[in-house]
Subunit: 419 residues, 2 copies
């Protein structure tokens, strides 16, 4: 692919990311937009309100000795999650670029596009995973005190970095494959990166990334981790397929929606967090906390994403891209609204090819508590994520404490972001 074409793709992606059809669009937006501001800029903080905190429930699992090391920190001690791991992120970005350098130029170009400098965005997933590594007491090598055991630490941290790289490759592969269009979609002019890149090349580039991810995974020589990550790929596929369903009893089921959301968004984060813990040799209980953090962070993220699809940055209904509802994808706000107004079901059943029908649905949504209840559910999951971190055994190590705080900060960023 020529440089000009790549630049075109880059501009295209930047301009249309927010309007993408998939529920992952904000995740993508976060991942792909050029980061010209500091991470905190433009984000309104909600503080540490956790009305649904279920730390008690998590304590049941891991016993009583679970005093939080971060509970003593003041809320104002904000830690920028991204800057804590900035050097490592840039190392990973370099490695990702070199890993997708294939012998076949146009394949490499398609895959590399997502890893280009400037196009790589925030690297949300790698950030979480590297913070998790430190939070579980595996230090960034250059910060370790010199002496016996350094090599082991470096090796372990490097292996955990590989999980971040694998996760990023799988994420990008899923973006490429999710965007594959049927002929009918193309004719209807639905916007997609692949409309420019071509379905075929997108599929091949995705497969290429999956195979590189699998090779990297094999190099870790940990079959439990291989199983976790293979499960992620299966979940991603299952989630995408669940979204294609046209059966009303499924489309209108909150349980089905949450399962789909776990598969499409939360599985990758939960299983990769768990992998980071397992590589460090942690117990099943600790690995479970890492998993719970990733799962609940992912669910909270997606719930807010589904709200933003209706409200956009303005917090007013109808100001979002409305891409979900226009594509007939029914998300939490509408599901909650339906509980209050069962007659909304008939509106949804008619489909949304007619924009007037979208307006009717928005009207119902506006007078319901749909948006509010979705935000509450997102907060509940954000709090569960934070509680998982709180439940880790206390540490006096400053880096560990900082990273745990940063992970908790992320749970709040996710639910208070407005874009």
């Amino acid at each position: 692919m020529a440089r000009a074409a790549l630049l075109h793709l880059l501009r295209y992606r930047t301009a249309s990311a927010a309007a993408a059809a998939e529920p992952l669009s904000a995740f993508r937006c976060l991942m792909t937009r050029s980061n010209s501001k500091t991470p905190a800029a433009g984000i309104k903080w909600a503080g540490f309100c956790r009305p649904f905190s279920s730390k008690a429930a998590l304590n049941d699992v891991i016993g009583n000795d679970t005093d939080s090391s971060v509970a003593v920190m003041e809320p104002q001690e904000q830690v920028d999650p991204f800057s804590l791991v900035a050097n490592e992120l840039s190392l990973i970005a370099t490695r990702l670029r070199s890993m997708v350098a294939a012998e076949v130029p146009n394949l490499a170009s398609a895959a590399e596009y997502f890893f280009k400098i400037g196009a790589e965005g925030k690297r949300f997933r790698p950030t979480v995973l590297l913070l998790m590594a430190t939070a579980l007491d595996v230090h960034i090598p250059e910060l370790s005190p010199p002496g016996f055991g350094d090599t082991l630490t470096i090796d372990l941290r490097t292996r955990q970095q590989r999980i971040a790289e694998i996760t990023e490759m799988i994420h990008v592969a899923s973006l490429l494959h999710d965007d594959v269009l049927d002929d009918a979609d193309t004719r209807r002019g639905v916007g997609s990166l692949n409309a420019v890149m071509g379905n075929k090349l997108a599929v091949l580039a995705g497969d290429f990334l999956l195979s590189r991810a699998c090779l990297t995974l094999a190099s870790l020589k940990n079959t439990e981790v291989v199983t976790l990550i293979a499960t992620v790929v299966e979940n991603l596929v299952t989630g995408e397929t669940m979204q294609l369903t046209t059966a009303s009893n499924k489309r209108f089921s909150m349980e089905y929606y949450m399962q789909k959301t776990y598969n499409k968004t939360a599985s990758l984060m939960s299983n990769s967090c768990k992998s980071v813990a397992l590589l460090a040799g942690h117990t099943a209980e600790i690995a479970m906390l890492a998993f719970e953090y990733g799962k609940n962070l992912g669910l909270a993220f997606q719930l807010i994403d589904d709200v933003l699809d209706f409200t956009g940055t303005s917090a007013s209904l109808g100001k979002g891209s409305l891409s979900d509802i226009r594509h007939g994808i029914i998300t939490a706000p509408i599901l909650f609204a339906m509980e209050e107004y069962p007659q909304l079901r008939a509106v949804v059943d008619k489909g949304f090819d007619n924009p007037a029908n979208v307006d009717i649905a928005l009207e119902y949504l506006g007078k319901s508590r749909g948006i509010e209840r979705t935000k509450e559910l997102a907060m509940k999951h954000a709090n569960l994520a934070a509680a998982a971190i709180d439940s880790l055994r206390q540490s006096d190590d400053e880096d560990v404490i900082k990273s745990r705080q940063a992970l908790i900060d992320l749970t709040q960023r996710v639910i208070t972001r407005n874009k």
Copy 2:
């Protein structure tokens, strides 16, 4: 997907397999057609001519103690390769069907389609792998003498069966993904299963199979095998992408063509054969022979496939489906013809949208030794495959001898088939 739609797909596939656009079409034909005759029916035997046998070269690698156990067998002692492993093949087919049973009905239907009873064809790859297992002295459990060690044998053989299942899943995934079409192709009315199934579902079903293959692979807990199979997926992608190239210096290069052919066809067979050997704990030398067998069998198969694209069953030029050349895919017969008639290059450069140009190319091919030299090259690789089996250390075990003979028979079937 409704049953009616699946049946439609099934009929479609059976009717159009031979006319498929990809060089793998005959492989597919072998895999997907309903098997109403005995395997030997309709196959003309060429006997055991091996003008290019390179057994000597292989001996250099594994030492001198490599007397062939099959050399003493008479050519007329034909062993039907498929019947030797029939029971195990049906076991594998059952397992494949159960493994693709997903929670999501339409995903399962798409994946299952290839594993339906009656649609499963010859199971060429699993047959080779099971024969290889026995040829390397791992017996089918029910044929083992009772006593100590049985459980180990069963376990090992089961693990080798998993390789056959994984290989089949990856093969089908690659069929699904290779057939993904760009909008332009669809408009031109190129025949493809995915034109019926839909690109999106084909991609997801392929990804689903890849993730199941990866899960099965992880369960084997052998990271060397994980690496080999991940390499296969990467090679399949690279091969397909190489075929998309439009650069003349590559399209007209015999070396590039052979590399593409290895990636697209021979890598899966060679690496899975090697995996079967590694699981049995064989030495690197034996694993290399298994690899060489799979590689050369795959190359021979594809070379003959490329001949049949021109000749079809009749052995006359222009009687094949001509799908490669019509899609601008330049294969060995044309490459050899070009060496004799450099002016053919200009013809190819014009493209084959105009059928008259296809006729001109066929004319050059007809007066060249292109078809003949391709068959000779296929025979050379078939003989290298047979030589790899001949190079295995002698065995007195009847099952081992029979399976080795069957593997050698397959090398001849591959080059003498006329469909």
